[in-house]
Symmetry: C2
Subunit: 332 residues, 2 copies
């Protein structure tokens, strides 16, 4: 059996309170401090965090609920959030919603039952109702990557619409006006689609229906199938905008299979500076999300709410995402 504070008491002859005080950084007479430290070493004592949590009502653990843990984007966010939290003594309970709103709701309940101090959520659902239990439990939630229509939660996203608009502007500035778009109907996909439309409208270019592809969620298949379809058209677009990393991969697959060269035959612009766009040839021109900032800002806000209470206004951060020029866009 692991040593408890009582064993330290027996070993040192001191009172429980003194030992507890020492453990929590309080002032203890030097002589006693030494005794305690010796006993701790001798007995290999480590405080039981469960017991501690029961009385402090703090678990020093936050839940991180991810819409899809298998994708690279999540891994990078996880990495930065986890580094930030660990440095501050917090652990991270991870839950994968697997793109399923029902699983997401279960995950929220799960985290609450585990008494997490707060939740970092990359939402699947856009329904604020799924978060109702967190409100009742008075557990703060920070939304990452996607927003939910509700002023009850902090959130950290990028300027999705604007970023997509700038990306499309870039194509137009390079002489393109026959541009297709492949997007999802998720939050980010929709916002980015809006940005695309806005740019096209601004430029006075009409977008034919057969140049718009979409599906419920972002996926490699969506990109692949859409690109295949686009290539069957009599009038092919000269450029394609994708609203997500996986979609870009699918598009590239399809282009490769059909022997289409990029950017000579068709230009491409996408999202997210993950490993592939750097490895690919040509280098993909893309909108680079500040992933580290999204993660650490989200974690920072969450810890602030946990440790300083709720008496500051909701934070809705929209970070700037820069366009990084690669070689996948041809000047016409």
């Amino acid at each position: 059996m692991a040593a408890t504070i009582k064993d330290i008491k027996a070993e040192t002859g001191l009172g429980l309170a003194t030992i507890s005080k020492y453990l929590n950084g309080g002032n203890v007479r030097d002589e006693n401090r030494q005794k305690i430290e010796e006993a701790i070493k001798k007995l290999d004592y480590h405080p039981n965090e469960t017991a501690r949590s029961l009385v402090t009502k703090r678990t020093k653990t936050v839940g991180f609920i991810v819409h899809n843990i298998a994708i690279n984007f999540s891994g990078v966010l996880l990495q930065h959030a986890s580094a930030y939290l660990h440095e501050r003594g917090y652990g991270m309970m991870i839950c994968d919603s697997n793109l399923d709103a029902k699983q997401e709701a279960e995950n929220i309940r799960f985290c609450l039952d585990k008494q997490v101090d707060g939740i970092l959520l990359m939402p699947v659902s856009d329904n604020p109702a799924v978060l109702a239990p967190t409100v009742r439990a008075e557990i703060p939630v920070v939304l990452l990557d996607r927003e939910i229509e509700s002023d009850a939660f902090d959130c950290v996203t990028i300027d999705n619409k604007n970023a997509a608009e700038r990306a499309t502007d870039y194509l137009i500035d390079n002489g393109h006006n026959s541009i297709a778009v492949i997007h999802s109907e998720e939050y980010t996909g929709n916002e980015r689609f809006k940005g695309f439309l806005s740019s096209m409208e601004k430029a006075g270019v009409k977008v034919p229906k057969q140049y718009i592809y979409s599906a419920h969620v972002h996926s490699t298949e969506l990109g692949y199938n859409s690109m295949k379809a686009l290539l069957k058209l009599r009038e092919r677009p000269t450029a394609v905008v994708t609203t997500n990393y996986e979609v870009s991969l699918g598009v590239i697959m399809a282009m490769n299979e059909e022997g289409i060269r990029c950017p000579e035959d068709i230009s491409l612009i996408g999202f997210d500076e993950l490993i592939l766009p750097m490895v690919m040839r040509p280098k993909l021109t893309l909108v680079a999300q500040p992933m580290e900032d999204i993660a650490t800002e989200g974690a920072r806000i969450l810890l602030k709410r946990i440790e300083e209470g709720n008496d500051f206004p909701r934070q809705r951060m929209s970070l700037y995402a820069a366009l990084k020029e690669g070689e996948s866009v041809r000047k016409i």
Copy 2:
């Protein structure tokens, strides 16, 4: 404040023990069962898992310590392990060692302090000493992906040496005998390197020194730099074996930059069936690790030890990794 079992007691007039029994699936008179269920609904009661853990000495949480959470391979393992564990009511506390042995040791301590019931570890260090604290705490550990020289821990890996040997055999069968290898000095890198050498020896082919590249850890840079160096040689190899996914990416980057065609100019064979090899052209020929099996077998063994105790022998599973033919190897 959240409702407690005492509130249920007050609401129903029943004893604490009866309610607790109900919560834990015991037999309760139908009439009382109804009362309890009503009260639970009315008060929105959820058992406090922290309190529960304190008395049962079970947190129903396992630690998952990953050598590097940012890479795709980890994400996929995480996905499968998390699905398996959640289904069985277990949570997952995640820690990233960031390829640093010191952080790994801290993570182990962290998990132990959080009273996890068991640990899934993708190790950075190959020193069994880092695991000493888990032995003292009598917390079971299952090693994933990499082994540690010690008969104290279960582990689930693939037949690394054999897989690399088969991959190299494949090159040789296709007429190659001028083959370079790029590996890390980590466990998997070394094992796979051994397999490479074994195959070459079997075929009676000598490997010149300048065809062997290595570094401490697997990385895109290692692949990139090594390939660049290889391409400067007067006598270039006709094929390259890499011992890891990231390394392959680096190799491909270098080939692209130098305008080397694969497999026409140089053939390539690598590890791990993640997204890139499927998107690339040509499709990469590779050793596909059974990632789902690694994760779920590891989790299965861990839960078995947690729930059934330590009275069964150490498990050292070495799963078979199949060679998947792509188009990156040319027949000579």
